[in-house]
């Protein structure tokens, strides 16, 4: 169980963390989600001990570790750009934590083989990081962090430097790994899709503060404020009302509360179609329909349709 209370961190005049408190339940996979500059990486580094907070405490399993160096916190850290030890082989990289603790050779050999199997890098043990792909390097980074049996695993935008397909693969793979090992894990990401897909709980951060902490579904269905709602998914804003594109119903005839709009553009994204609409007063809207729905309505660019929300949200300050 990780507990961060009242964390404040400044870099010169810039306030990276403004009285942030976060709890991470044992065995869960929690995502810190937010845009660049939201403080999520800083918070992760404070938990790891790579940064010292100006105020606040960090506890791991009830113990106050705020003043402890990273070496003795028992955290595993995985870096966005891998931080691979270039001059060591894959094997020696993974074995590093054990080697410096002077574990017996037999133990190291067994543990490293196990981990290399786990991350599917067995055949590459004698290679150097320069000879690996980005995805392979990051799997190595993960194996390296896991080698010393950390109580907590921290990942700082681990898939940020990889291309889209590899990112998706590794995301799933990480989730499966977590389901097997149940290590308390915190992952920092700016990709809401990643957070929603992978995490049990998501902490949404913005400008050094926590906006909302909730499981992905609740975050999506019951966002605490405008920022969270727009960050975790696409949203239409009409004045004070927020409507998800898939909650926009399209009708060919006006019907009571419907509004008149014109179809500007149809964007076909595989199975879904994004319909870009514009109102008389120039306000734009986007609706998300399936292919069938679009065909059934025989939608075309320039066509007049009538819309109404099946669901809408208003935030009270």
């Amino acid at each position: 169980m990780i507990s961060a209370r009242g964390i404040v961190k400044r870099f010169g005049d810039f306030i990276a963390l403004d009285d942030v408190s976060v709890d991470v339940p044992t065995g869960s996979l929690t995502a810190l989600l937010g845009p660049s500059g939201s403080g999520k990486s800083t918070l992760l580094r404070v938990i790891a001990g790579l940064e010292q907070p100006d105020a606040g405490e960090v506890s791991l399993d009830g113990e106050d570790v705020t003043r402890r160096p990273p070496q003795s916190r028992g955290v595993g850290f995985v870096f966005q750009h891998y931080a691979a030890f270039k001059h060591l082989t894959v094997w020696d990289n993974v074995a590093f934590g054990l080697t410096i603790r002077r574990r017996p050779r037999r133990e190291i050999e067994q543990r490293v083989s196990e981990l290399l199997d786990l991350v599917q890098l067995t055949g590459l043990a004698k290679r150097y990081p320069a000879q690996l792909s980005g995805g392979q390097r990051q799997r190595m980074g993960l194996a390296r962090a896991l080698a010393v049996d950390p109580t907590v695993l921290l990942l700082d935008e681990p898939f940020g430097a990889l291309d889209a397909r590899v990112r998706k693969e590794l995301r799933l793979w990480l989730r499966r790994l977590h389901d097997e090992t149940h290590t308390t894990t915190v992952i920092v990401t700016h990709d809401q899709e990643e957070a929603m897909e992978v995490a049990d709980r998501v902490v949404v951060m913005n400008g050094g503060r926590v906006e909302q902490t909730a499981p992905p579904r609740e975050l999506y269905d019951h966002p605490a404020n405008e920022f969270v709602m727009s960050f975790v998914g696409p949203v239409n804003r009409l004045g004070d009302t927020f409507i998800r594109p898939h909650d926009v119903e399209l009708l060919l005839e006006p019907n009571g509360s419907t509004q008149e709009t014109m179809v500007q553009r149809l964007v076909h994204l595989g199975f879904e179609v994004r319909v870009e609409l514009v109102r008389d007063d120039g306000e734009t809207l986007s609706a998300q329909l399936t292919r069938e729905q679009v065909e059934a309505l025989e939608l075309q660019s320039g066509q007049i349709v009538y819309v109404r929300p099946t669901r809408q949200t208003v935030f009270s300050d």
């Binding site: 001990g49 790579l50 750009h81 030890f85 001059h87 590093f96 390296r144």
Partner: protein, 269 residues
């Protein structure tokens, strides 16, 4: 329209093709006349190989190579320390110290020798008289080779990814272990390059040592001074022979250091 475009591209092409010929041709001629021709004459006129195996010549060779290796080693350590202080530390006047490191590059070697002799020679105000000793030679050589390792290590240290040190810390490595296992291997190639440059410079140094050494054969006579001496005695053939020997020997050492450096960076390929 098409005709114009053709005319436009044809003329510059013709003019452009002169440029490579000009720069290659001129620079090759210049290099040949200035550098290669004299060196060819050196190789050709080197004779009196018997003179090279005299006890005096051998002593000069051994002394030079020995001193230069020691100098390379001392610089490897001191240069790295100084580079560290300039990159990782922070104190007032750091910029001045950084500029100072280049002083041996800018200062004439004879002046370097003279200043060392003034402070650490016969009229030394602190009572240290290193003139006519091997310590004096060492001092002079350390002076002129100071910048080499510092300047090769500095950029590498500067570019070093701090995340690597964070990673090592998160895996439990203390500061010393991190230095030994992570930082040092990363800067080792640069240290070797710098040490090689320092070695090469030390082998050939003349101006800084000529006053300090006193030319005592078997004691403080380095090869450059020995060659000069042969020349003064009119034995230019013998001087040339000794020059060729020291050139080949130091070339061999440099090749060895280069091979070591390549082996150390084998993981980068």
């Amino acid at each position: 329209m098409a005709a114009n475009a053709e005319a436009l591209s044809a003329a510059p092409a013709a003019r452009r093709s002169l440029a490579p010929g000009l720069s290659i041709g001129l620079s090759t001629v210049y290099l040949s006349v200035i550098v290669l021709l004299p060196l060819a004459a050196l190789g050709w006129k080197a004779h009196g190989w018997g003179a090279v195996s005299t006890p005096q010549a051998t002593a000069a060779l051994k002394l030079t190579l020995g001193l230069s290796l020691v100098v390379a080693l001392v610089n490897a350590v001191a240069g790295t320390a100084i580079a560290w202080t300039l990159v990782r530390d922070r104190f007032a006047g750091q910029g001045l110290v950084n500029a100072l490191v280049d002083l041996p590059f800018a200062l004439p070697t004879i002046v370097a020798g003279l200043t060392l002799l003034a402070l650490y020679g016969p009229k030394s105000p602190v009572g240290i008289n290193a003139a006519f000793t091997r310590w004096g030679l060492l001092l002079a050589l350390l002076f002129v080779t100071l910048p080499f390792v510092v300047r090769t290590v500095q950029p590498v240290l500067f570019e070093l990814d701090r995340e690597l040190e964070d990673a090592a810390a998160s895996l439990g490595a203390g500061r010393f272990t991190t230095f030994l296992r992570i930082i040092f291997p990363s800067i080792l190639p640069a240290v070797l390059s710098g040490a090689a440059l320092a070695f090469a410079r030390a082998v050939g140094e003349f101006g800084a040592v000529v006053l300090m050494s006193g030319n005592l054969p078997f004691k403080t006579e380095v090869v450059s001074v020995y060659v000069f001496g042969r020349l003064e005695s009119g034995d230019s053939g013998g001087a040339a022979a000794a020059s060729v020997v020291i050139l080949l020997t130091s070339f061999g050492v440099l090749l060895a250091i280069g091979a070591l450096r390549r082996w150390v960076t084998r993981h980068d390929r």
